[in-house]
Amino acid sequence: MSTLAQEFSKGIFKENPTFRLLLGMCPTLAITTTAFFGFGMGVSVLAVLLCSNIVISAVRNLIPDKVRMPAYILIIAAFVSATDMLLNAYVPDLHKALGIFIPLIVVNCIIMGRAEAFARKNNVVRSILDALGMGVGVTISLTLVGIIRELFGAGSIFGFNIMGSAYEPMMLLASPPGAFITLGILLGLCNFAFKRLGIE
């Protein structure tokens, strides 16, 4: 059973999509101005990933190899559209903040990548674990970036003021350049930490 646990945990550390595989960087940079947005995006990705992995692994033997990419995209796009509508209905604020990046989940390399690399070769149970692991990995990473940017860029975490009223937020972190620089430095730190922990 340990391998099943590995299927789950690899997405969080060893093959963390954001920090190790460098996939899905666009939303990582764009919407992580606050921890909440990062978390919301992560959960959205998790949901789409989970659904599409289930469906794709379930029908994997039915899809001819030649047209698998368009087929996967259709499946993913359907779930993305559904997510889009759900977000709009229940968390309109988040929907507005994530904006164009919700439809763009379709082309998030993580989801396509997992479909291509994992779901089409594995059974439903493994695919679910894989999707959960990867999705949680993304959610953690996005939330982490969001926390850092929100903490220094606005002085709060998940909207709760942390730094006190005297703190003058470093607006850089809320701006596009700040996103790049923060992620770049985080990536370097991660490489360093992973090397130290012996995870290649």
Partner: protein, 192 residues
């Protein structure tokens, strides 16, 4: 004049990579060499313009009349996927060298969010067909510009001695951040 402003904004002030965060994956992956970055940039300009035109037409004549806007995502991505695969086949046959250079990224141009993003932005901002074409080309050029700038920087960094932890994506991101800072100078230069 309005079109000029559109071009200026798309290339510099609101650069697709440096301030809109679209197309980061190919930006990180393919900006290692000047040649490939130019090739990828041109491929993006080409595919982006084609797909923007097609999606704009489909949106206007199929989706809007039946008020099926909620199908945009799914219809657009279908069109783009088909189009890219078509381009891929043609390129493989006619220009194997470029095909090999772009490697696995040509199929991934499908999943390049710039293409879908620009298609959606075009219909969302209610561009007419001329604006759509101009905006798509300009955005593609902006993408190419960002790629080429980064390729130049990275080719130079190849000769630098730096920490192995930072080499690659990390330092590329930081450089992109500083470039993005520099591009902020263009903010507010043209009011649309």
């Amino acid at each position: 004049m309005n079109l000029l402003a559109l071009i200026f904004v798309a290339i510099l002030a609101n650069n697709i990579v440096l301030s809109q965060f679209l197309g980061i994956c190919p930006y990180l992956g393919l900006s290692r060499k000047l040649e490939t970055s130019v090739g990828m940039g041109l491929a993006v300009v080409f595919v982006m313009t084609m797909s923007a035109i097609v999606t704009w037409i489909i949106d206007l004549f199929l989706l809007q009349p039946f008020s099926l806007e909620y199908l945009r995502t799914i219809a657009f991505i279908l069109i783009i996927a088909g189009l890219v695969q078509f381009v891929e086949m043609v390129l493989k046959k006619t220009n194997p060298a470029l095909f090999r250079a772009l490697g696995i990224y040509l199929p991934l141009i499908t999943t390049n969010c710039t293409i879908l993003g620009v298609a959606i932005l075009n219909v969302q901002s209610q561009h007419n067909i001329v604006e759509t074409i101009v905006y798509s080309i300009a955005t593609g050029v902006g993408f190419t510009l960002a790629m080429v700038l980064m390729a130049g920087i990275r080719e130079r960094l190849e000769l630098a001695t730096m920490s192995s932890y930072l080499k690659g994506a990390a330092v590329t991101l930081v450089s992109a951040g500083i470039l993005s800072l520099a591009f902020m100078g263009f903010k507010g230069m043209v009011a649309l």
